[in-house]
């Protein structure tokens, strides 16, 4: 067992207990994105590509500052740009860094059938292990944030790793490193939550944003990427950030009650025909039996 595997607390598609859960003391890490100080420079987008070794893909111009419509299998970090006119006539240029939210209760992991293809580390990072990925794409359906993306070339799914390879070596994620305005922060979940709340209070009290707040959605158990929003009551404004994300109810129904009802039904069916055989035996052809006992045809 490698050192890293002792830090895993949840494994997708895994029968039985998680080998390393609870063995290590780990900080719960968190990325804080302050949308109110993002200038949309996209240094984080470039840093993400540089660190993870992807070439810059073709961009899609849609009359905004956004690089492409949504994240891609080799483009994990995207500034979502929205122009929004408030009721008081003030024009807002909303920039939100979109990436994997690293949910505490990850829908991708719940939906995944492949043993070990998705793991959740004790520090909160949810990571795809492509060597175990079978390319079914159930994670795409399980995710409430539209993050996992299928690579047609690799026939596997990719997403932001929260720079797990850097964090494991006590480095901050590449996007954080590149941010020139300081709108990106990285630390423990508790520290980041406190910093975010302080900033939100400042926006409410001193900057004229009475609805400013922190986005750390409880429906997925909280996330390891949190936002400060000027208008926390309308997260959808920020490039479609869901207001109350959950693991989709059909995925929950499929993975929990339906699974157990189905398993019991299958076992019951097999037992049922077996008991039928013991009680009544096979159907036999009665005249054939007479023939074999010397009957006439």
């Amino acid at each position: 067992m490698s050192q890293a595997s002792t830090e895993i607390v949840r494994i997708s598609g895994h029968a039985g207990s998680v080998p390393g859960a609870g063995l290590n003391r780990e900080f719960r890490v968190c990325k804080l994105v302050d949308t109110t100080t993002c200038i949309g420079c996209k240094a984080c987008e470039v840093a993400c590509l540089e660190w993870n070794g992807y070439t810059f893909s073709e961009t899609t111009f849609d009359n905004t500052y956004q690089t492409m419509p949504e994240t891609a299998w080799n483009y994990w970090n995207l500034i979502k740009f929205t122009e929004y006119e408030r009721e008081d006539g003030r024009l807002m240029l909303l920039m939100r860094k979109d990436q994997c939210m690293h949910c505490e209760d990850p829908g991708c992991l719940a939906a995944c059938p492949a043993d070990g293809a998705i793991v959740q580390y004790a520090n909160g990072i949810v990571d795809f292990q492509q060597e175990h990925c079978i390319g079914c794409g159930y994670c795409i359906t399980g995710c409430p944030f539209n993050i996992p993306k299928f690579s047609p070339a690799a026939r596997k799914v990719f997403k932001c790793t929260l720079c797990n390879d850097r964090v494991a070596r006590a480095l901050e994620p590449a996007c954080i490193k590149a941010c020139p305005t300081g709108c990106l922060h990285f630390g423990t979940k508790a520290e980041m939550k406190e910093l975010a709340e302080t900033r939100a209070a400042q926006l409410r009290d001193q900057s004229g944003f009475p609805d400013a707040g922190v986005y750390d959605p409880p429906g997925v158990g909280g996330t390891h990427v949190i936002y400060v929003l000027h208008d926390a009551k309308n997260p959808e404004l920020y490039g479609g950030l869901p207001k109350d994300p959950h693991i989709p109810w059909t995925v929950q129904l499929w993975k929990k009650p339906l699974k157990w009802i189905g398993n019991l039904a299958i076992i019951g069916g097999v037992l049922g025909v077996f008991i039928h055989y013991l009680r009544f035996g096979p159907k036999i052809v009665k005249e054939d039996e007479q023939q074999s006992h010397g009957g006439t045809q």
Partner: protein, 218 residues
């Protein structure tokens, strides 16, 4: 094919033609592969099945193609059997006495045509569930092609696909049990023929009709 061609010269009765047997086994073999790989994706405790079958990546690649082949087999079955599988007036009486059928008290069960109402249920159950499995399976084959604003299709497919699969598994368990344990049934779908006594006991109306057709020709 009708009349004399069913009453074989060796005194036996042709139950299923070569074409019917071939289509049945196309469906059977593809269904078993779909069942095994599907169960591997269904439960972590059965994931080893995919490992035995060459690895889960291969299972994921081939499962949809076997699904297409199974759908083709269902289509062929429909063209072969849909007329004979239609419900009739006498089906209700058969279902009313299904308990006798289950207790092997066949003499108390209304006589069946070429297919008894239980077989009709099997056929239509597989046909309609197979159609839903095909449609939901096409969505699950290419989840990345479903745009975000149509994601309800994916969310519906992850329920429809296993529910329909479970319904076919229920039918499949009974089908395999009867097909292998009932005397003469397995031979009917392998070599194609059954004894006259078998035909008379299990599909009396059909057998009578064969005899009448044969007599009319002579």
């Amino acid at each position: 094919m009708r009349g004399d061609s069913y009453l074989l010269p060796n005194g036996r009765v042709l139950r299923y033609s070569f074409r019917e047997r071939l289509v049945h086994w196309l469906a059977g073999v593809t269904y078993v592969y779909l069942l095994l790989t599907g169960l591997a994706f269904w439960s972590p405790w059965l994931f080893w099945i995919a490992v035995v079958l060459g690895g889960a990546t291969i299972s994921r690649e081939l499962h949809p193609w076997f699904g297409i082949a199974f759908a083709v087999a269902l289509g062929l079955m429909y063209s072969l059997w849909s007329r004979q599988m239609r419900g009739t007036e006498t089906d209700k009486a058969w279902w009313a006495s299904v308990e006798h059928y289950m207790r092997n008290e066949d003499e108390k069960v209304p006589s069946a045509d070429r297919f008894n109402p239980g077989q009709k249920l099997l056929f239509w159950g597989f046909f309609w569930n197979g159609l839903l499995l095909l449609l939901s399976g096409l969505i699950l084959w290419f989840p990345q092609q479903i745009p975000w604003n149509l994601r309800f299709l994916r969310l519906a497919a992850v329920i429809v696909h296993p529910v329909c699969a479970l319904l076919t598994i229920a039918l499949f368990i009974i089908h395999v049990y009867m097909g292998t344990m009932e005397q003469g049934a397995f031979g009917a779908v392998i070599r194609g023929d059954v004894s006259r006594a078998w035909a008379d006991q299990h599909h009396h109306s059909w057998y009578e009709q064969l005899l009448r057709d044969s007599a009319a020709r002579k």
